[in-house]
């Protein structure tokens, strides 16, 4: 039996709670996420985060996912995580079977700490393995080695984690299909419930970008990248993993067992509400999105005055809501639900996007699988272009019907 899917625009749908821990021992070469290596500030930020939890408790709705992301949340001691989760449960209605994820790096996931996390209520672990190849880990400027990753996975199992996700990065310079297949095999040997496989992206402003600009390394060409992208999907499908999002794979469970997809991350892709706490975290309550102050001191100071550390917000226009819906829905294997679109936007999807839709169906990038439009294998490789092509049908000056969850 197929797992049930959360439906976008379901007012009763539980929300997600994200907590950003913006600290790392050192910044990895490729990373443009918000983090600081000044660990002395961690206690102050942690206290401020607890205050923010309390301040935002009045926001309505219940929650069935909590995600401690970063940064490196595994820098938090077991006791701190327990304290944080207890604090959250005191102020937010958290459903009993909530998915509670913690992101961690192999070098800080010690057996003792893993046991403490498990006892604190963490039931899903996302481990930043990135590669099982030491030279590639050095290229990425990671602090750990392949042995530490293996050890962390073993320790996590021993500590009782039954839902483990591994993060991997591929498309590194010189990486052949064989190289990558070998790494996938190593990852699969530990039988993770979930895998996130990201194609290496040169984000502006990172050391990786700087080194690239200086000619210290060469990116793979388009054909090689495409081969690795396809290999990932094919290999993991054969190994029993569902590519439920472009970079995310969940182990298929026999006879409709526990759904191993990331419940929390699906909230982003389904445009469901979420609250983000901590520096730089984003919140979304359709059609309103807001984001927190990213600088640590202003974040701390703001909360010390019992003020919300909101740095900015936007109210999505009907056009923007459509763009995000297209972009997020089509990244998922399920695709864009035509009926849900019609309910939400009060118009037929086929009517709005008639021309590009026909072109993309003709071109073999999109396929109709009732009740959804889905990207094909060919389409997934050019997902951004497909969306851009659809967006071209949304005239900038046209008055579009407001979505049902616009809130007036």
């Amino acid at each position: 039996m197929a797992p049930t899917h959360p439906t976008p625009n379901d007012p009763a749908a539980p929300g997600g709670l994200y907590l950003h821990i913006p600290f790392c021992r050192s910044k990895c070469a490729y990373c443009d996420f918000h983090s600081s290596a000044d660990l002395q500030r961690l206690p102050d930020v942690f206290e401020a985060l607890l205050r923010e939890v309390r301040l935002r408790a009045s926001e309505s709705g219940c929650f069935d996912s909590i995600y401690l992301g970063g940064g490196t949340p595994s820098l938090l001691a077991g006791g701190d995580v327990a304290r944080l989760l207890t604090h959250i449960r005191r102020h937010f209605p958290i459903l009993p079977d909530a998915e509670i994820t913690l992101e961690g790096n192999p070098d800080s996931l010690t057996p003792a700490r893993l046991t403490a996390y498990r006892q604190a209520g963490i039931n899903r672990l996302s481990i930043g393995v990135q590669s099982f190849h030491n030279a590639r880990l050095r290229f990425l400027e990671r602090r750990h080695n392949a042995d530490q990753s293996q050890a962390a996975i073993r320790s996590a199992r021993r500590a009782g984690f039954t839902n483990i996700s591994l993060d991997l990065i591929y498309g590194l310079p010189g990486q052949s299909e064989q190289d990558w297949r070998r790494e996938l095999e190593i990852a699969l040997a530990s039988e993770p419930e979930h895998l996130s496989c990201y194609q290496l992206t040169i984000e502006p402003g990172t050391r990786l970008a700087l080194r690239h600009r200086r000619g210290e390394w060469q990116a793979l060409d388009e054909a090689a990248q495409l081969r690795l992208f396809r290999l990932t999907r094919k290999h993991l499908a054969a190994a029993g993993y569902d590519a439920y999002e472009i970079s995310n794979f969940a182990r298929r469970t026999p006879h409709g067992g526990a759904n191993l997809r990331s419940r929390h991350n699906q909230k982003y892709w389904n445009h469901l509400p979420y609250i983000g706490l901590g520096p730089a975290a984003h919140s979304f309550q359709p059609p309103l999105r807001s984001w927190n102050e990213m600088r640590l001191q202003p974040y701390i100071d703001c909360l010390a005055r019992d003020q919300l550390p909101v740095a900015g917000s936007e109210r999505l226009t009907p056009r923007q809501m459509r763009i995000e819906t297209l972009y997020l829905a089509l990244r998922q294997s399920r695709g864009l639900d035509r009926d849900a679109y019609a309910r939400r936007f009060g118009e037929r999807f086929e009517a709005r996007f008639a021309r590009p839709l026909a072109q993309l169906m003709d071109g073999g990038q999109l396929v109709w699988t009732p009740p959804c439009y889905q990207l094909t294998e060919k389409g997934f490789a050019v997902a951004d272009g497909v969306v851009a092509h659809l967006v071209s049908a949304l005239a900038e000056d046209e008055d579009l019907p407001r979505p049902a969850d616009d809130g007036g």
Partner: protein, 600 residues
């Protein structure tokens, strides 16, 4: 002002020999404007002129000079355009002078254009003062330049004046030289008015400002004047001198150069080279040499935005006020909608119009491939004139096609003879004659189809002669030709705005180059794009723009969504300079690339 206190002169020079800087220095020293208002290179006031370092509209300035003999002279500096498209304007400007400063770079020495300009000046019987400029340069070789002046130009090098316009050296000596060596104008102030128009420009407050040189007689505000080419009459509102600002005078008399304002609505009502006389007391004959500027290159202009036509109409009307040579009429294209079919003096004129529309009027434009005017003799004997590929009739109904030919005079150092010969032969040229002007300077005469010249010929000539080649041409009539219409198909759809009329022999090459250029300019899209060149139904060239095969963001979580959406929104804005043709977005630059497709 007495005639012998007047001097009218131009500065002629090879490009980059310092004409603009010297003009600035003369203006500065004569103290007619304050330092504060002084913008470098005052005379090249249009942005485009400044950027390209060329003069398009000639301008004039009247410089007062208190000479050593204790008298004050009025020295009229008449600036000349510096490009072959505007040769006629140059010749009219020179016709208003008695003398010219022949400017030579002290380190570069005599160059092709120096010589070509000298001949043009001598044609008008101008007195020449050689000026050796840039003597401040370490590489300056004054002796060598002096011997070139003697040997190559046949001028007296003792008369040469040494200057550094940059450092302001020799400017005083130059003023004295102008007074001493250039003749004062001749003319009879009491004879009936006869004045030569050499330029005009549009002023939004006063209407057309006519630039002219009085040959005989005098002109005052309040008088009724007549243009001799069309007998139109106007009442003079104001006459005066150009001193950067307009300086009104009671009257202008024989020998003087100045302006007239006479309630003339557009510059098209005046003609460069025309003669002004008094309506009540006309002169007997006009100044000789009047030619009407005739467009030789035709192209259609369309707005990029489909709703941009109304704005373009307004912009064209305003531009026309200031550009008498521009002609246009409404045009439509299946691919591009409403626009204008325009006639230009040459390809540079076309580019100048395009740039002015884009910069001064904020238009975003698409231009079609330039064409010349063909004469088609139909089966029934009727003669049709066609300059627009869209109006090219069914080829089976055409008996004879004719295309305009030019006689081109190319002056080069003789070492470039082979390169120029090759270039002209490639362009279907026929070498009619050549002669040595000096011991190593060669003048080559070719007959060439005009259509081969409008495509980047001048640039290619400059390139194969490393800048030494100069080029002038005149139309010599229509000749029989074999014409075909080359169509460009994008994903099977013919794009009418990309069609071109070409000589049969050139069709394959033009088709191939057009397809390749379009392939470079059309960005990769979601779908494969086939570009084909076709004559009749036959495909003669093709190229393909391959689609993206990989275009996907790896990570998309809470904090990434807004950023990603903004990229998608911005991408939409970027497409405003794109034109949808069928299912393909073609950038404006792709249309422009086909304008210059002859680089091998």
């Amino acid at each position: 002002m007495q005639l012998n206190h007047l001097r009218n002169f131009s500065i002629i020079a090879h490009i980059d020999h310092g004409k603009s800087t010297l003009s600035d220095r003369l203006i500065e020293v004569s103290d007619i404007i304050s330092e504060r208002d002084f913008k470098d290179q005052i005379l090249d006031s249009m942005d485009i002129e400044r950027e390209r370092g060329i003069t398009i509209k000639s301008q004039t300035v009247c410089l007062p000079h208190a000479a050593k003999d204790g008298k004050t002279y009025h020295l009229n500096l008449i600036d000349t355009p510096g490009h072959v498209d505007f040769t006629y304007e140059v010749s009219r400007a020179l016709a208003s002078c008695e003398g010219a400063l022949l400017l030579i770079d002290a380190s570069q020495g005599v160059e092709a254009q120096t010589l070509a300009n000298l001949y043009l000046a001598l044609e008008h019987d101008l007195e020449i003062i050689p000026v050796i400029n840039k003597i401040d340069l370490p590489s300056a070789d004054i002796d060598r330049v002096k011997s070139q002046i003697e040997d190559d130009l046949g001028l007296d090098s003792d008369a040469a004046i040494l200057t550094s316009a940059k450092e302001g050296r020799g400017i005083e000596a130059l003023f004295e030289g102008i007074v001493a060596h250039l003749p004062p104008p001749q003319g009879d102030p009491e004879a009936p008015l006869k004045a030569l128009i050499f330029d005009s420009h549009y002023d939004p407050f006063r209407g057309t400002i006519v630039h002219f040189r009085v040959r005989d007689g005098r002109i005052r505000a309040g008088e009724r004047i007549r243009f001799m080419s069309n007998n139109a009459t106007y009442k003079v509102e104001e006459v005066g001198l150009f001193q950067i600002v307009r300086n009104p005078q009671k009257e202008l008399v024989a020998g003087q150069v100045g302006y007239m304002i006479a309630g003339i609505k557009t510059v098209s009502d005046t003609r460069c080279g025309d003669t002004i006389t008094l309506d009540s007391r006309p002169c007997e004959a006009p100044e000789p040499g009047f030619k009407e500027a005739k467009p030789v290159v035709f192209s259609s202009i369309y707005p990029v935005a489909s709703d941009g036509y109304d704005d373009l109409v307004v912009a064209m009307e305003k531009l026309k006020l200031n550009d008498a040579a521009l002609i246009y009429e409404k045009d439509t294209s299946v691919a591009l909608g409403f626009g204008f079919r325009c006639g230009f003096l040459g390809l540079l004129h076309l580019e100048v119009v395009q740039e002015r529309l884009e910069r001064e009027f904020d238009q975003s434009l698409i231009l079609t491939a330039p064409s010349v005017q063909y004469e088609l003799v139909m089966n029934d004997g009727e003669v049709q004139i066609v300059d627009n590929p869209a109006l090219y009739p069914d080829p089976t109904t055409i008996e004879i096609a004719r295309e305009p030919f030019i006689k081109a005079a190319i002056i080069i150092p003789d070492r470039y003879m082979g390169a120029v010969m090759k270039l002209c032969m490639e362009r279907r040229g026929i070498n009619k004659n050549y002669q040595y002007l000096t011991n190593n300077r060669l003048e080559m005469i070719f007959e060439l189809p005009l259509s081969e010249v409008v495509y980047d010929f001048y640039d290619r000539l400059k390139s194969v002669t490393q800048g030494y080649g100069s080029f002038d041409y005149e139309l010599i009539g229509q000749r029989d030709t074999k014409l075909v219409k080359l169509d460009i198909l994008i994903n099977g759809d013919r794009v009418d705005a990309l069609s071109q009329l070409v000589h049969e022999e050139r069709a394959y090459q033009r088709a191939r180059v057009s397809c390749d250029k379009l392939k470079e300019e059309i960005p990769r899209q979601m779908f494969k794009i086939a570009i084909q060149g076709a004559v009749g139904g036959k495909i003669i060239a093709r190229s393909t723009v391959n689609p993206y095969r990989k275009d996907v963001t790896a990570k998309c979580y809470g904090g990434d969504i807004t950023r990603k959406r903004k990229l998608l929104e911005k991408q939409k804005k970027g497409k405003k300079r794109m034109k949808m043709v069928g299912q393909v977005e073609i950038p404006q630059s792709a249309f422009l690339s086909v304008l210059r497709t002859d680089a091998e």
